[in-house]
């Protein structure tokens, strides 16, 4: 299913009375084709997270249209919103904060299957095993009973990804999913995200991971799309100052 963001604008009121309002999204348009991964790059405060909130239905745009297949996302309410969320799932940045410390891995992965697909816990069991296998947490029996504190950061992030994949979504919105992980673990998690075949909006500051994961990227600055194109083309010939600054920040021993 194709995601279309068409001329979307969102303004938030200032924090205190009298503060100027913030234009977080300023006439933003783009599409994500079925199964396609697109990177969204931008500085803190550029509107990346606002866009993620609008796409996942957590907030509504002031103007413009967001459609996913034939669903008008910006008009969804209650049960339709719930059905939509089973199709568009979030992967969070901080694997230490995104899991309840009191819930076992099996419980965490069973809940979306119960909530979205109405399975009983017993019916969910084989699917949970399959999810653990997909994200590389094997032997499955060993990991299913663990609590978050018994897992490393990389393993936790795999659980977060498995939870997002559980309702069989058509699109993942991943907000900096590897920035809290050791560099040595990032490649494995990125490979996993890529291999799912699920479409993805990949939000990041890290150009290397954007190149590895996404065929296309766009750069957001003060709520506007300032450049977009094939990832390699944007990186080789950046027009925007922020994109250039990010390229300058790459570690020199590895730049060609």
């Amino acid at each position: 299913m194709r995601l279309i963001v068409d001329d979307v604008t969102k303004r938030y009121p200032g924090r205190r009375r009298g503060d100027a309002s913030v234009l977080a999204c300023d006439h933003v348009s783009f599409t994500i084709e079925p199964g396609e991964s697109v990177a969204l790059v931008g500085q803190s405060g550029s509107g990346k997270s606002t866009l993620a909130r609008l796409i996942t239905g957590m907030d509504r745009p002031d103007s413009g249209v967001i459609t996913f297949g034939d669903t008008r996302v910006d008009r969804l309410r209650r049960r339709h919103l719930r059905a939509y969320r089973s199709r568009v799932q979030l992967v969070f940045q901080d694997p230490y904060a995104a899991l309840n410390p009191l819930h076992t891995v099996r419980y965490v992965l069973t809940r979306p299957l119960v909530n979205y697909h109405g399975l009983s816990e017993r019916e969910a069991r084989p699917q949970v095993d399959e999810l653990l296998d997909t994200v590389g947490l094997t032997p499955v029996e060993q990991f299913a009973g663990k609590l978050p504190h018994q897992l490393s950061g990389g393993q936790r992030q795999r659980v977060v990804i498995a939870r997002a994949l559980a309702p069989r979504p058509a699109l993942l919105v991943a907000d900096e999913p590897v920035s809290m992980l050791d560099v040595s673990l990032r490649a494995g998690v990125l490979e996993l995200l890529r291999s799912t075949g699920v479409g993805m909006l990949y939000i990041t500051h890290d150009l290397l991971s954007a190149r590895v994961v996404a065929d296309r990227m766009f750069v957001l600055h003060e709520g506007r799309v300032v450049e977009h194109g094939r990832t390699i083309d944007v990186l080789r010939d950046p027009k925007d100052d922020y994109t250039r600054a990010l390229l300058d920040a790459l570690p020199t021993p590895f730049t060609v």
């Binding site: 500085q43 803190s44 490393s152 950061g153 990389g154 393993q155 050791d182 560099v183 040595s184 673990l185 990032r186 490649a187 494995g188 990125l190 490979e191 500051h205 890290d206 150009l207 290397l208 954007a210 190149r211 590895v212 990832t231 390699i232 990186l235 080789r236 600054a245 990010l246 390229l247 300058d248 920040a249 790459l250 570690p251 020199t252 021993p253 590895f254 730049t255 060609v256």
Partner: protein, 316 residues
């Protein structure tokens, strides 16, 4: 001139009700005055524990189990009272991972400087203030920062304030433990550049601890690679990039590439870092190592000529 010498250092954690874990295992290293050294390894490899041991900051359940840390001729474990205080004043300083959260939220930046300077030197408030302005200037913050409270500053600015505070007492060694982890990529770069510039200007020795080898190579003259509590490689940065010898160092370098290259492959390191409570018998990297041989499985390889590997290093 050698500033810091570590001989066969071991640190153990002895938590109540859990097995003892040896987190730093038989580490020996030297740091020269004015040298900038990086210490790189994955989460849980013992790098922060080593940093704490070097600055005498270990707290129970951690305990120095064996070996010595010699700082400017003194065994730091033997110091106490005023001599330990003097060492902490002029000897070494530690900048923590969440250092920007180390500031007191109800005191202004000026108060932080005045407290530090007046606790250690006989100085009046006006002199302390003048010195604070100079120090802030060194980390490229305006004098008006003195009036600010920590919550009015960004994460990068707070970390700069912490660095300026650390420099107030002119330490000879500064240990930076993941100083940029929670910061934005560009702010991260700016903070590391500041640390590097100050180290050149002021001339202190620096130990930069991080999981990010790329960042460390940007600033350090020499890199120590740590795995499962041991130093497995110790080389000048330039040589480490061109001729990495330990298979673990090679794997760490494989995590980086230029995103503008025609083909981009980053390999990462398969498997997980070992559980220090259940180490394999021989080389602790053997379970993840592509070059493993039967001979690797019997005893831990010693660090010889800067590398601890039976396959790629010199055989003892």
């Amino acid at each position: 001139m050698t500033l810091l010498e570590v001989e066969n250092l071991s640190v153990v954690y002895e938590p109540t009700g859990a097995p003892t874990v040896e987190s730093v295992r038989d580490v020996s290293l030297t740091l020269r005055a004015g040298e900038f050294v990086g210490l790189v390894g994955e989460s849980g490899c013992g790098k922060s524990t080593l940093g704490y041991a070097l600055t005498r900051m270990l707290k129970p359940p951690a305990r120095l189990d064996a070996g010595r840390v010699i700082f400017a001729g003194d065994d730091i474990a033997a110091l106490s009272g005023e001599r330990l205080r003097a060492l902490r004043r002029r000897g070494f300083a530690l900048v923590l991972q969440s250092g920007m959260n180390a500031l007191n939220p109800v005191r202004t930046v000026e108060n932080h400087f005045v407290d530090v300077l007046r606790a250690h030197e006989r100085t009046d408030r006006a002199t302390a203030r003048t010195k604070a302005v100079e120090l802030l200037d060194r980390v490229h913050l305006p004098a008006t920062t003195l009036r600010r409270y920590p919550h009015e500053l960004s994460g990068g600015m707070r970390q700069r304030v912490v660095i300026a505070l650390v420099l107030a007492l002119e330490p000879r060694l500064v240990v930076f433990d993941e100083p940029t982890t929670a910061l934005d990529v560009l702010v991260q770069k700016a903070v590391i550049d500041t640390i590097k510039r100050l180290q050149r200007e002021v001339g202190f020795s620096a130990l930069l601890i991080s999981h990010d080898l790329g960042m460390v190579l940007e600033s350090a003259d020499r890199v120590l690679v740590m795995y499962a509590g041991r130093i497995v490689e110790d080389q000048p940065s330039a040589r480490l990039v061109r001729h990495p010898r330990h298979p673990y160092t090679r794997a760490l370098l494989g995590c980086y590439a230029d995103p503008r290259a025609e083909q981009v492959t980053i390999t990462g390191i398969p498997g997980s870092p070992p559980d220090l409570a259940r180490l394999p018998g021989g080389c602790s990297y053997a379970p993840r190592c592509p070059l493993v041989e039967p001979g690797c499985l019997h005893a831990e390889p010693p660090l010889v000529n800067g590398v601890a590997c039976y396959v790629t290093g010199a055989r003892p």
